[in-house]
């Protein structure tokens, strides 16, 4: 199939439409604006609805209403806007409503800056809203992978009745790469017999709800969510291991920073140092399994992030104290250079390469 040169944000929109997304609720924020703009242009052409909400809070609650009505629905934003959506994400998780939320991260905290960063790892993987819940998080490292993961995210959302986040950054959203937009294979998705539908449900009222006033009932509901999360952990975890066999050091990086790590790997090769890469594709569930496959030659792990260090916590949990865990990160929208990573690796290995 023919490849098309597309900007990440626009490709994300095209992927959503391919996945059958018919409703999009947005609010402007850099660096994701091309996505809602694309949807505003393209959704009406295929019988869908784009609506600009009054805020990210409005948008995510419109998602709640549309998802409760059984629709495939998406919203997108960037860091400060995703923070505003957290209330709604907690309600979506609580009411078990599927949807896809795209976060093209920028640098924070506060208003921060508009350059690409990865400072929302905690917010994405820890369930940034209130209560006992998780959201599956996909972290694409290229425009093609963004397309593929958005399509997958819709299926995961419907399959498990959960909000799903696709976590990119300003770089993934803004860069242009060739993409193939294939019509996705139809996945077996159970009928949405829980949803409020077009035709009234005589004698069988539907209720979309996250309120359980009796503690035992709420606990049972939460246990239900967590048994679902166990299945997601087993069946939906995705990662890539590159160059890891007999590597001196294994780096751990996702999204944009994994691309920079790949450049550093090449540079290190010239110096006779073998660096591997564990690239989590799902950040939640985190690919713990990958760390169990690390061989005995590897001396250390190096977590590389475009943040002051967030994923490193999960790396330490997955590593279970086996290897020293080092960190290299740039934050505030500064993108790490491959040379900086190379230097860090040499520093870690010191004389005992």
């Amino acid at each position: 199939m023919e490849k098309k040169l597309m900007k990440g944000n626009e490709a994300a929109g095209a992927a959503a439409i391919l996945a059958g997304c018919k409703y999009f609720f947005g609010y402007p924020i850099t660096p994701q604006n091309e996505l809602p703009e694309y949807m505003a242009r393209e959704l009406p052409k295929c019988g869908g609805t784009y609506l600009q909400a009054e805020s990210e809070i409005g948008a995510i609650n419109m998602v709640y209403g549309a998802s409760g009505a059984g629709a495939r629905v998406m919203t997108s934003s960037s860091s400060p806007g995703i923070a505003l959506k957290q209330e709604g994400i907690s309600y979506l998780a609580g009411a078990e409503l599927p949807c896809v939320i795209v976060n093209m991260m920028r640098s924070s905290p506060g208003l921060g800056g508009i350059q690409p960063a990865q400072g929302d790892y905690f917010m994405a993987t820890r369930g940034g809203g209130n209560g006992d819940y998780f959201t599956p998080v996909y972290a694409p490292a290229s425009v093609q992978e963004l397309v593929d993961l958005i399509i997958k995210a819709f299926d995961t959302a419907d399959l498990y009745r959960t909000p799903v986040m696709v976590l990119g950054d300003g770089m993934i959203g803004q860069m242009m790469e060739p993409v193939e937009l294939k019509i996705p294979e139809k996945k077996e998705i159970p009928a949405k017999d829980w949803a409020v539908k077009d035709k009234p449900t005589k004698g069988d009222n539907k209720l979309i709800n996250s309120l359980y006033i009796i503690p035992e009932e709420l606990e049972e509901h939460i246990q239900g969510l967590f048994s679902k999360y166990e299945i997601i952990k087993q069946d939906e975890c995705m990662y890539e291991m590159f160059n890891c066999e007999d590597a001196d050091v294994i780096s751990v990086a996702y999204g944009t920073s994994s691309r920079i790590v790949r450049n550093a790997i090449k540079k290190l090769e010239n110096d006779g140092i073998k660096m591997g890469l564990i690239r989590p594709i799902t950040l939640w569930p985190f690919p713990v399994e990958a760390f169990e496959k690390i061989g005995s030659k590897t001396k250390a792990l190096l977590c590389v992030e475009m943040s002051a260090g967030q994923m490193i916590d999960d790396v330490k949990i997955a590593n279970e104290g086996r290897l020293p865990v080092e960190f290299f990160g740039r934050s505030g929208g500064v993108v790490p250079k491959p040379e900086e990573i190379v230097n860090k690796v040499k520093e870690i290995l010191g004389g005992n390469k």
Binding site: I57, G58, V63, Y64, G65, L207, S210
Partner: protein, 247 residues
């Protein structure tokens, strides 16, 4: 024997949890009766809000969605955009609609969303125990305005019906009260018109209903109804603010 009055089929048999003398119950009955009489009960989708009326989804015999505090108009927007032919309505208190949910309310109105809002103004935060609401009258005591609302520090109560009727997006806006039989009859007419506005696809409709909260106003129910008449109605005048031409 001829039946002269019976409980509307639009309400389930689950007993209300409202305090004795609370007029939320009357409003539920009026909404249910209106939907049944218009043949819309099965077709209705109730978006419940957060406040004393949080369990409305148990009482109305129809499909429902429970929204987070203040966001019912956004949830209703999402639902209605998908379910264009169903009658989508929210049921919201004044804290929910006119404080935390002001943005969602104003913008649903400005967009002319074809939904109906049943807005219950009891000038207090009922569910959380009587704190000052955006609608609490100047001088009215609340747990967070123990000396009575003071305009110089707390500002002034919001007249939602008047405010929203300035928006071109709104089609039907009326303020009613449920403190005496004559007003109850008018309230029901307004509720019916609001739903008809939606079924006629004429756009955004809202009925502001002045309601009593004897518990948090610290009054016996009859005194509360009198207080509503004497204090609330002068500040919140009853009447229609907007009607679609063809209605």
């Amino acid at each position: 024997m001829k039946t002269v009055f019976e409980k509307t089929k639009g309400l389930t048999d689950i007993p209300f949890h409202y305090c004795p003398g609370c007029t939320h119950g009357i409003i539920h009955r009026l909404v249910a009766e209106s939907l049944v009489e218009l043949g819309l009960m099965e077709d209705a989708v109730c978006v419940a809000s957060v406040g004393c009326s949080v369990f409305t989804y148990k009482y109305f015999d129809c499909d429902a969605m429970q929204a987070s505090h203040g966001r019912a108009p956004a949830v209703a927007t999402g639902a209605k955009r998908v379910l264009k032919d169903r009658t989508v309505f929210t049921y919201q208190g004044d804290g929910d609609l006119a404080a935390i949910g002001t943005a969602e309310t104003v913008h649903a109105a400005a967009r002319g969303e074809n939904i109906t809002i049943i807005y219950v103004n009891n000038a207090i935060y009922g569910m959380t125990g009587g704190q000052m609401a955006p609608t609490t009258l100047v001088g009215q005591k609340a747990t967070t305005s123990p000396e009575g609302r003071i305009a110089s520090t707390n500002g002034y109560p919001i007249r939602v019906a008047e405010m929203l009727s300035t928006l071109d997006g709104t089609a039907f806006i009326e303020r009613v009260a449920v403190n005496k039989p004559a007003n109850v009859i008018k309230a029901k007419k307004a509720i019916k018109k609001a739903f008809q506005t939606q079924t006629n696809k004429q756009g955004f409709s809202l009925v502001e209903i002045l309601s009593s909260c004897p518990t948090n106003w610290s009054m016996p129910p009859q005194d509360a109804l009198n207080w509503l008449e004497e204090k609330m109605i002068p500040y919140y005048p009853l009447g229609n603010f907007k009607t679609p031409e063809e209605n």
